[in-house]
C-alpha cells in the first residue's frame, strides 16, 4: 500500500485489521523490524515550505533525504545533525529513527532539529504537534516522543526542521597513530576546550579525527591551537580528504553482525578492552560500533548506557529495559495504537 495523501493514509490505518510495518526507504532497519505488511510512505512527497531566512523547512515524510539535502545545499544550508543517508533513505525515516551524524556533539540529533510534526495514530487520527519556530513550549513535546519512535506510535506524515548554515571553512585534524582506546584521551581533550569541535571520531587506519568548522580565520586559528595541544598525545596531521562520510556507512553492512554501544566516553576504554578492534568511534567516544561473530554478544563491564545489535539476524539489547520504563512504553503504545496496528520492538 502506497497512499499519496495524508487522508488516504489515515483511511488505510482506520481500515487495517492486521499489523503494518511503516516503511520509507527501509535503510535503517534493526533486526526483527519489517516483518509485517509494509505501509509505504514514499507516495507522500514534496517540500511544502522552505524559508532559508527563518532557517525552517517543512517536508512530507516520504521525500527522499537526497532531495532535501540538495534543496538546502542550493541555499547554502544543511540538516545540521548530519544524518547518514543510503540510496533510498527518506526524511521520514531520518526522523522516525532519530538519525544523527558526527555533528550531534555540536547541533544535536534529528530530535533536536525537529520543530514540528504531523502524524497519524493507530486509530487514524491526524495529530499536529510543535510548529515551525525554534522556541516552543506550548503543550507536551510529542515531537521528541515521535523522533526515534521507529513507527511504534504512529506514522509521521510531515516534518518541520530547523536548518543550519553550511560553515564556509572546515579543517579535519587527525592523529593517525592512535588506536581506538588511545584516541579517547585525544578526543576528550579537544572536547574539553573552547575549540568548538564539530566532529570527534576514530576510524581504523585513520586514527583519531577532529573537525573544526566556521569562518576561515577562526578555523585556522583553532586548528593551530588545538594541534599544539594534541601534539603531546601523538603525531597530528591535517587530513587532505573528507573522512567524515566514511562514518555514515558504519553499522549498515548486512554481512556483519554489528553492535552499537552508547556509553560515557570515560567508560569507553574499559569497554573497548574486552572487544575486538571497533568499526568506529564517534561523539568523542560515546558511540562505539563493533562487529562480532554471528549470534554472540559483547562482553561488557558495568556501564551507563546500552548496547544494541543493529545488523544481524536477531534483536539484541543490553541491559534489558527496566520494568517502569517498559510499563511506560507499553502504556503509551496502548494509547496511541490501541488496536496494535503498528509493528514494534523494544
Amino acid at each position: 500500500m502506497r497512499p499519496e495523501t495524508e487522508a488516504d493514509l489515515a483511511q488505510i490505518i482506520r481500515e487495517a485489521r492486521a499489523p503494518l510495518s511503516i516503511t520509507g526507504g527501509a535503510t535503517r532497519r534493526w533486526p526483527g523490524e519489517g516483518a509485517a505488511a509494509p505501509l509505504d510512505t514514499r507516495g507522500l512527497t514534496g517540500i511544502t515550505l522552505y524559508e532559508p531566512e527563518a532557517l525552517t523547512l517543512t517536508v512530507r515524510a516520504g521525500t527522499p533525504l537526497a532531495v532535501v539535502e540538495d534543496t538546502l545545499r542550493a541555499e547554502g544550508q544543511m540538516l545540521g545533525f548530519e544524518p547518514a543517508g543510503a540510496p533510498g533513505s527518506t526524511i521520514g525515516g531520518v526522523a522516525a529513527t532519530n538519525a544523527a551524524g558526527p555533528r550531534r556533539l555540536q547541533l544535536g540529533a534529528a530530535r533536536d532539529a525537529l520543530l514540528g510534526i504531523r502524524m497519524i495514530d493507530g486509530e487514524g487520527n491526524i495529530i499536529r504537534n510543535g510548529g515551525r519556530v525554534m522556541k516552543n513550549v506550548t503543550g507536551y513535546d510529542l515531537v521528541k516522543l515521535m523522533a526515534g519512535s521507529r513507527g511504534r506510535l504512529g506514522v509521521l506524515t510531515e516534518l518541520t526542521f530547523r536548518t543550519a548554515p553550511i560553515p564556509p571553512a572546515r579543517v579535519t585534524l587527525s592523529l593517525p597513530d592512535l588506536d581506538a582506546a588511545a584516541a579517547i584521551p585525544a578526543l576528550t581533550l579537544a572536547l574539553g576546550g573552547a575549540w568548538d569541535v564539530s566532529g570527534a571520531a576514530w576510524l581504523p587506519g585513520r586514527g583519531a579525527l577532529l573537525r573544526l568548522e566556521g569562518l576561515a580565520g577562526s578555523v585556522a586559528e583553532r586548528a593551530a591551537s588545538l594541534s599544539a595541544r594534541l601534539a603531546a598525545l601523538g603525531r597530528v596531521e591535517q587530513a587532505e580528504d573528507d573522512p567524515w562520510p566514511l562514518l555514515h556507512a558504519v553499522g549498515r553492512d548486512p554481512a556483519l553482525e554489528t553492535w552499537r554501544i552508547l556509553c560515557r566516553p570515560s567508560q569507553a576504554p574499559a569497554i573497548l578492552a574486552n572487544l575486538p578492534q571497533p568499526l568506529s568511534l564517534d561523539w568523542g567516544g560515546a558511540l562505539i560500533h563493533v562487529a562480532l561473530p554471528a549470534g554472540s554478544a559483547p562482553d561488557l563491564p558495568p556501564f551507563d548506557g546500552h548496547a544494541r545489535r543493529v545488523t544481524g539476524a536477531a534483536p539484541g539489547l543490553i541491559p534489558a529495559t527496566d520494568p517502569v520504563t517498559r510499563r511506560l512504553n507499553t502504556e503509551l503504545r496502548a494509547r496511541f495504537d490501541p488496536r496494535g496496528i503498528f509493528e514494534g520492538c523494544d
Binding site: A54, R104, V133, Y140, G192, H306, T321
Partner: protein, 486 residues
Amino acid sequence: MIQLPQPDPGVLSRRAAIVAALNDALPGAVIDDPAETRAYECDALTAYRCPPLAVVLPRSTEEVSRLMRLCHDLRVPVVPRGAGTSLAGGSMPTEDAVVIGLSRMTEVLEIAPEDRMIRVQAGRTNLAVSGAVDHLGFFYAPDPSSQLACAIGGNIAMNSGGAHCLKYGVTTNNLLGVTLVLMDGSVVELGGPMGEAPGLDLLGVVCGSEGQLGIVTEASLRILPRPAGARPVLVAFDATETAGACVAAIIRAGVLPVAIEFMDRPCILATEAHCGAGYPDCEALLIVEVEGTPTEIDEQLALIRDIALRFDPIEFRESRSDDEARRIWLGRKSAFGAMGSLGDYICLDGTIPVNALPQVLAGITDLSRRYGLAVSNVFHAGDGNMHPLIIFDANKPGDLDRAEALGADILRLCVEMGGCLTGEHGVGIEKRDLMHVQFAAPDLEAQMRVKDAFDPHWLLNAAKVFPLDASAPRRERRLNRPADAA
C-alpha cells in the same frame, strides 16, 4: 480572569487526616500552618494566589517517592514546585493540593568534565549549576533570566530557554537524563549518554511537561567549555520593521551569533530613565553578541557590520572594552525592572518565525492602539521569541481584564503568523485556555493521552496546560471515584 477549578470537597474534608499521614511519612518536613503555607500561595504570576492544603519539603528521591505513593493512595492532588519562579502559574497550588517543594534538594551529585556532564539534585538553582563547574572552565548553557533563583527541576518542567538559545538550544537540548518519581511513587531513570535510552524518548516528553508527568528529583546536564570571550555590538534603527529585517538578514547570511536581542522605543526610553545606559535616540535597537577568540570575534563582527550597514542604521556601536560591553548590555538587562517602574505589566512569550518580525511588530502596534494600552517590546529576536510587555494599572477596575484580552489577541496574532503561544515560559494556568487557538481537539487529546499513561488518576498538577473544558472529563473521573481502594 483565569478560571480555577473547584477544589475536591472530599479531599478538603479529610484535611486533618492527610496532614497527619504526611507528618508520619516525613516528620519535620511538613508545613500546614496557614501563616506559613501562604509563602507558597503563588509563583511569579502573582495576580493569582491560593494557599495549598500543605507543603512538604523532602531531601531525597526516596522521600519524594514515599510522599508521592502516599498522596496517590489517598487520592490527594500534588503540585510540584522548584523555586516558584514560573511566570505562567506552573507551580500555583490549588486548595486541595499538597505542594512538594524541591528547595532542600540542592546537592551536586557528580561532576564529570571528561564526559562533559554534571549531575545535581533538581532543587539546585540554574546559576549554581554553572557555578559548580566554573573552576573547570565549563558552564551550563540555558540561561533563563531568573537563573539566580530558578531551580533546575523547574527548568526541566518548563523546558526553559534564555538569551543564548540561538547557539546552544534550550533545556531539552542540554538535558542528558533525569531521575523521575511517578505519581504512584515508582522511580525511573530516563535518558543516558547523549540523552539517549532504548525505546521511546520518554526524557524528551517529560522535559516541558510542566510537572504533570512526574517529579524530577535528579538531573544529568550537559556542560560546555566556556568560550574564550564574547563581545556585543549595538545597532540602532529609525524603524522597528528595519530592525526586524536586519535580524532576518543576519540569520540568512549564515552567521549565528549567540544572541540577538531587540528593544523598541518605549522600552529604550524606560530603561534610559531607569539606568541611563546611554542608548541612542531611535525607534528600535539590536544587541548582537558573538563569542570566541579575539580573531573569531573580529571576523564575525565584520560580517555583521557589513549586513547591518545595508539597512542604513542610525548607529553601529562597537565595544572596545569590558566596560563598553557592559554598558551595551546594561539597558537590556535592566529592561524588566525598568518596565516595572512604569506600572504593572503582563509579559507575553509568543514566538514567531523570524522573517515575520516586521509584520507582527506592526500588528502589535495596531492592537495596542485599539485597546488603549501601551505595549513595549524587548525580546530574543534571533529565535523569534517575543516578549511584548503590556503596561496597565492593577488598581484601575477592568484594566487587568483589558490587558489580558489584549495579550490574548497578540498571542492569536503570533499563532496566525505561524508561531506559538509560548516560547519559554510555559502554558501553566496563564495560557491554558488559549490552547484551543493553537491546537485542534485531536492534538490536545494526543497530549492528554501521554498524561493518562504517566498519571492515570490525573493527580499531578492537573488543572494546568490543557483548557479546563478539554481536561474536565479526565479530572472529574477522579472526583467521582474518591479514595477507595488504592
